[in-house]
């Protein structure tokens, strides 16, 4: 690739945006289908969100997986079987680095390069503008297809709370290690996995801990007996039985004032935290309702009571962002939600796909793997046999939305890309079969 501002035509090559877990598996599976790949990564190393050295990484010192190894690893590159059931985030990074090295992905990645715009160039091709993150000239390259894997856990969403607060407010992504909590009075806002993890960390280190949640979730333990709980949930069984098993093993925290869930167990991704009931029971975490207002040193809650924390941590999630694309290309609505077939394929642009934009009842890596297998085979089919590809596209347009998406079930801004691990993979598997058998 020459370093000139001229438009470089990369022929049949595919552009991958981002070298996190989703980008890496996209490169591997595109290469396996024989595509030349240029991957652009704004950081100087792989791992995306899992690389704590990256300034956008949300991981904190104590973060462990909330899904066990077999439901988290790439299906064709297992984590070492001697690793713990729920590896530490540093092991996840080591795993991604080994994956990249094992499959020789590094030579296809351009580090320190940011994609600033992606524009249709006609005939299914794309003009991708790339700029060095250290400044410098930008250049444009033309690709046969673009696969976006820019992650969805880097642009923090903060709650809009009226009033002024005299203490300190940080988003969970700025929280790195527990010394920040030691001896202080801490309010954690947010009932997701991060919010619950941070409430537990605070219970272990802070002086006093309040945990404010708006909605009720299903709280699952990490273990049932001596086995990881998610392994018990992912036996082959009818969905009503899985639902019953989930309801029976979830912790009911309403005794401590935590709201009851307003949805069925897997309609929103599960909270996995065995220590939350433990610390609620010890009185180290005090469950409080929604925050309504800041007022100087105090925080006003929905029930009218007031508390006086020194530090407020908002664990209120992240928003996917595609600043390099015109919103209509991904059919992004006013709430920022793109409309993608299987959360992966752009409906009006057969050579544009997004990998890893799912929130599942198990790990994202296996879904990102199978998504990129499907995308790579689709692009291969489209290049080799456009007629057959057209038949597959017609067949796919008949697939009912409810068979793979939980959209609309829990109507909040965060939960639109929730999927059920088994339902989603069943849909991807049938797409892969369609591509094999289409005439």
């Amino acid at each position: 690739m020459q370093d000139s501002p001229d438009l470089g035509d990369r022929g049949g090559a595919v552009c991958v945006v981002g070298a996190g877990a989703s980008g890496l598996t996209a490169i591997k599976n595109l290469r396996e289908q024989g595509f030349a790949v240029d991957c652009y990564e704004r950081e100087t190393s792989v791992g995306g969100a899992w690389n704590w050295r990256h300034d956008r990484s949300p991981v904190y010192a104590g973060a462990h997986l909330v899904t066990s190894r077999p439901l988290t690893e790439f299906p064709d590159f297992p984590m070492p079987d001697t690793w713990p059931d729920y590896p530490h985030h540093s092991q996840v990074l080591e795993y991604l680095e080994r994956y990249a090295k094992h499959f020789g992905l590094g030579e296809h990645i351009w580090y320190g390069m940011e994609v600033t715009s992606i524009e249709p160039a006609g005939d299914g091709r794309w003009d991708v503008s790339i700029q060095s993150t250290g400044g410098g000239t930008s250049r444009v390259q033309r690709y046969a297809a673009v696969v976006i894997a820019n992650g969805h856990n880097w642009s923090p969403v903060s709650p809009e709370i009226p009033g002024d607060f005299a203490g300190q407010v940080i988003h969970a992504n700025a929280y790195k290690e527990p010394s920040r909590l030691r001896g202080r009075k801490v309010l954690v806002i947010g009932g997701g996995n991060t919010g619950c993890d941070l409430a537990v960390e605070a219970a272990q280190h802070a002086g006093r801990v309040w945990h404010s949640t708006r909605r009720g979730y299903w709280y699952f333990p990490k273990y049932l007996g001596n086995r990881p709980a998610d392994q018990a949930y992912h036996r082959r069984m009818p969905s009503w039985l899985r639902d019953r098993r989930l309801r029976r093993t979830a912790a009911d925290l309403t005794r401590w004032g935590v709201p009851a869930p307003d949805h069925a167990p897997l309609e929103s991704h599960p909270i996995v935290n065995g220590l939350l009931p433990h610390y609620l029971g010890h009185g180290r975490i005090e469950a409080v309702p929604d925050v309504t207002r800041y007022d100087g040193a105090s925080v006003e809650l929905a029930d009218g009571s007031r508390i006086e924390p020194e530090l407020v941590i908002t664990a209120t999630g992240y928003r996917p962002r595609f600043d390099f694309l015109a919103p209509e290309v991904l059919e992004i609505d006013e709430d920022g939600r793109p409309d993608l077939h299987l959360h992966a394929f752009a409906r009006k642009h057969p050579t544009l796909a997004v990998i890893g934009l799912v929130q599942a009842s198990a790990g994202v890596f296996p879904l990102a793997h199978w998504q990129s297998v499907a995308v790579a085979r689709w692009l291969r089919l489209r290049a080799d046999d456009p007629e057959k590809a057209g038949a597959v596209q017609r067949e796919e347009s008949k697939r009912p939305l409810a068979s793979w998406s939980r959209r609309k079930v829990v109507p909040t801004r965060r939960h639109w890309f929730e999927v059920d691990h088994v339902d989603y993979l069943t849909a991807v598997e049938s797409l892969l079969k369609n591509m094999e058998t289409a005439k």
Binding site: E32, P80, D81, K101, H102, G104, A232, R235, T426
Partner: protein, 256 residues
């Protein structure tokens, strides 16, 4: 069996186990893919350490052999192979011998090997049983009733191997076949579509010629044959010829 919905792996993962790995590395890293040899029933990594590992390393290939866990079923042994391959620094070539060929065939459904070689692969237990009954009835019949399978040198080795060497090898080969050996399970499609080669001998008295042809056809080719050799190609006097042919094939299939 669905390749994507892996309920058994999700809910009942194979537990970790000790795995013996023997390695011979080239003096300089030439960038060639690592080779992982997988022995079949009755022998271990040692059978490859005799000649083949050192020879492959001499030609620039990092060469490893793994002994899958003792007493493990096919699923556990394939897991051992995939774990060992994934722990190597680069995408690995899997090479299985005898029932190790079946373990490799299973592992290929899980791990995108750089390439695969099946050496005298025992993919069809019934064909092997027929061959064993023909060539060594007295050693085979007791095994059908739960006894130990006794081999004769004539059954396993070609006529050129000196009798003493054959005897020494025979003493190290011990097989108690299980019912699983006779199962004709469906072999998975290899993930990542690796180039695959079947190697054998028309004079093998364990894996008969038609079984070799069927195995090769399964992977879309014809077997590469070394007449006059027995089942244990890596222990025969002429051991260099098949391993050189395998390495030549790899050099051709995986240009640097």
């Amino acid at each position: 069996m669905s390749g994507i919905l892996r309920f058994e792996d999700w809910s009942d993962p194979v537990p970790p186990a000790e795995r013996e790995v023997v390695s011979r590395l080239p003096e300089d890293d030439t960038g060639r893919p690592p080779l992982l040899f997988v022995p079949g029933l009755g022998h271990g990594a040692w059978a490859f350490a005799e000649h083949w590992l050192g020879h492959a390393a001499g030609r620039g290939f990092p060469a490893h052999a793994v002994t899958p866990r003792a007493g493990g079923d096919l699923r556990a042994q394939a897991h051992d192979v995939v774990q060992t391959a994934a722990a190597l620094p680069r995408q690995t070539v899997l090479i299985g011998h005898g029932t190790g060929g079946r373990v490799v065939a299973r592992a290929l459904g899980r791990y995108p090997a750089r390439a695969a070689v099946l050496v005298a692969p025992l993919l069809d237990g019934w064909a092997a049983l027929g061959a064993a009954l023909r060539s060594n009835p007295t050693g085979t019949v007791p095994a059908l009733f739960g006894g130990r399978l006794k081999f004769s040198a004539r059954q396993l080795f070609g006529p050129e191997l000196p009798a003493e060497e054959a005897k020494a090898h025979l003493e190290r080969i011990g097989v108690r076949p299980t019912a699983g050996l006779l199962a004709r399970d469906e072999l998975p499609s290899p993930v990542g579509g690796p180039p695959t080669l079947v190697v054998g001998s028309p004079d093998d008295r364990v894996v008969p010629r038609p079984a070799l042809d069927r195995a090769a056809a399964r992977y879309g080719g014809a077997p590469l044959l070394f007449p006059g050799m027995g089942h244990y190609l890596m222990l025969e006097t002429g051991w260099a010829e098949p391993i050189d042919a395998i390495l030549d094939w790899l050099d051709k299939e995986l240009p640097r």
